[in-house]
């Protein structure tokens, strides 16, 4: 199956720290893939590597445009655009909305039809009529509108792939839904793919086609959203889902401690020191001994769904 970007055994190490430690996954055309994990899982480092902001230590990131031709690495590739968490920090307070959105075009010296393209990007991001916003400054608009300007600044380049790092984490609850709806609308209207990094499982339920769960530099479970969030198989995914605050819940499995330091990744299965399944003593002895002696390895990027766990068959 074709992909917009294909990650093959990607590693990003900082000295002894293995922030990303063997990730393989494809982003398919027109899909929203959510990369879910806690702080220290390596999800932000990974998305920066896809953007080309972070050199990879080993492995490959292969970009293909929607037409199937090979495009350049992320940084020089206008087909890959990124939006960040905090829209206020991402916007230059001394620039007008027009200048902010036009900046990408100017850097690439694509000055033809600039006004029309800036206007189209703003409309697409829900800021209509766009001319009204052209002369305004970031402080004159609301937080939700600022995130729309950030999205317009990315969309003006007509990307194939939008990278989003916690796009709604700093927004108010009522605005969150509006921005997520906009992201879905962009996928529907332009055939864009989105790789979104989040710790928010509700966001994945709201917009993602597939979910990849990261733990300590690896994807430990991958599959369609309904399956991963409905019938999770990896004990880490199950524990995460059990603590989503909701009124109707499964029995909570609160893991002790936090994600270990990526300089000291546990041997064998990296989750085994915190694994509630292993600690329950319910696993057959031969499985339990594998958990502490053998690495289940990364999940197969070509599998429909996969979990990196010896107890999952």
């Amino acid at each position: 199956m074709s992909s917009i970007v294909s990650l093959r055994d990607v590693h990003v190490h900082f000295g002894a720290s293995r922030a990303v430690d063997g990730v393989s996954v494809d982003v398919k055309p027109g899909e929203v893939l959510a990369l879910v994990g806690e702080s220290g899982s390596g999800k932000t480092t990974l998305i920066r590597a896809v953007q080309g902001l972070q050199p990879v230590t080993a492995g490959e990131i292969i970009y293909t445009s929607a037409a199937g031709a090979t495009a350049g690495p992320g940084r020089g590739n206008r087909g890959v655009q990124m939006i960040f968490q905090d829209p206020t920090g991402a916007l230059n307070p001394r620039q007008t909305i027009y200048e902010i959105v036009a900046e990408g075009l100017r850097i690439r010296k694509e000055s033809q039809n600039e006004v029309e393209r800036v206007g189209r990007a703003l409309s697409r991001a829900g800021l209509r009529p766009p001319e009204r916003f052209f002369p305004m400054y970031p402080h004159q608009i609301s937080g939700g509108q600022r995130q729309r300007v950030v999205i317009a600044g990315a969309m003006v380049m007509e990307p194939d792939l939008l990278l989003a790092d916690e796009p709604v984490a700093s927004l108010d609850a009522s605005i969150r839904g509006e921005i997520l709806a906009l992201m879905l609308e962009l996928v529907g209207d332009t055939g864009l793919s989105i790789l979104v990094v989040t710790h928010d499982l509700g966001l994945a339920w709201n917009i993602a086609d597939r979910v990849a769960v990261m733990y300590l530099g690896r994807i430990v479970e991958l599959g369609p959203t309904e399956q991963i969030l409905g019938e999770p198989r990896h004990p880490y995914t199950r524990a995460l889902l059990s603590v989503v605050p909701e009124t109707t819940r499964m029995e909570q499995q609160i893991l002790v401690g936090e994600i270990p330091d990526s300089r000291r990744v546990p041997v064998a299965c990296r989750f085994h020191p915190r694994c509630p399944l292993l600690q329950s003593g319910m696993l057959p002895a031969e499985v339990a001994s594998r958990c502490t002696t053998e690495d289940p390895g990364p999940v197969d990027r070509n599998a429909g769904s996969a979990a990196a766990c010896w107890a999952v068959t």
């Binding site: 806690e38 108010d172 609850a173 969150r176 709806a181 524990a239 605050p245 109707t248």
Partner: protein, 320 residues
């Protein structure tokens, strides 16, 4: 019913700003009984943090307050500076959101937990303070060797536990927690929420928990109060407010955080058009009417008051 730990009547708080007075809280009334918990929810600018700070008189100089706050039977606004110091920490203590900024970076965690006990003389000696701080660390789930750690050596979750230990140092009757889990990961949030629930089971600690995430509140709070534009617009038992929200704003807030597995929200994020109002420039009539999907003509002229919407459940909307 026990005497309330906290009784707030018609509390209004107006900040002073260069562009004129800013009414942040516009008349809030509620009681909190010993051992009870109240969840306060709303978006930025709704006045929930101002309200929390006002309950311990932690507001900037020049702020105008009216109404009454009785804390453990004492009139908060009539207290002398000395009386106020005694109320803070020993009667009511607050846990803030940014655990890194709330701690002193050049003092060990243990010293910061001991300090309020020594200042308020709830312990007789430095040695007694050490014993008590060790007990507090155990109670909040921190290993004793972290008493000697500096804040930067601790993780976000551990720092939040230190703040909770500090707040409990003088054995307060009321704990005010202002977005204590917002900056934390899901698993760490669950750990902190479980800790707060356990502390409440062990003692008759009363709790005010503030957040913008309604789903968290249904877990920690017996009662909920939803704030919009400086007022409580809906209040009642947690589950009743969350599941049978009456005010259109509460409904939108509840729908913003989807229930995983609920097909109505699958690939259908739910939001609310428009932005929260600026406290200095509130719309006339019901302040929610410009964003309300059900607004009628009459909503533009008169601001609705809280009315009965069920068993112990009230909402401020003309449709109730």
């Amino acid at each position: 019913m026990n005497r309330p730990v906290l009784s707030v009547k018609d509390l209004a708080i107006t900040y002073h700003s260069a562009s004129g007075p800013v009414p942040a809280v516009r008349g809030v009334t509620f009681d909190l009984a010993a051992g009870d918990s109240l969840g306060l929810a709303g978006e930025s600018g709704c006045g929930k943090s101002t309200l929390a700070n006002a309950l311990l008189r932690l507001l900037p100089d020049g702020t105008i307050t009216s109404g009454q706050v009785m804390i453990d039977g004492r009139d908060l606004f009539a207290l002398s500076p000395g009386g106020l110091r005694a109320v803070r920490w020993t009667t009511g203590a607050i846990v803030f959101q940014g655990a890194l900024h709330a701690l002193n970076p050049v003092q060990t965690a243990g010293k910061q937990v001991r300090e309020p006990m020594l200042i308020h003389q709830t312990v007789g000696s430095e040695d007694e303070a050490r014993v008590r701080s060790r007990q507090l660390f155990e109670r909040v789930g921190l290993p004793a060797n972290q008493l000697d750690a500096y804040p930067h050596q601790l993780s976000g979750g551990q720092r939040q536990r230190v703040l909770i230990a500090m707040a409990l140092a003088c054995d307060p009757r009321l704990l005010i927690a202002d977005e204590p889990t917002t900056a934390l990961d899901l698993m760490v949030q669950a750990q902190v929420l479980a800790l707060i629930a356990e502390l409440r089971r062990e003692s008759s600690l009363s709790l005010i928990f503030i957040t913008h995430d309604l789903s968290v509140l249904t877990y920690v709070a017996d009662r909920l109060a939803i704030m919009y534009a400086g007022k409580i617009v809906e209040s009642g038992p947690s589950l009743s407010v969350f599941e049978n929200a009456t005010h259109p704003y509460t409904r939108a807030l509840a729908a913003a955080f989807p229930t995983i597995g609920d097909q109505t929200s699958r690939l259908a994020p739910s939001g609310l058009a428009g932005d929260p109002p600026t406290p200095g420039a509130l719309p006339a009539g019901c302040p929610f009417h410009p964003r309300c999907p059900l607004a009628e003509d009459r909503c533009q002229t008169a601001e609705p008051v809280l009315r009965k919407a069920g068993q112990a459940h009230r909402a401020a909307c003309v449709l109730v």
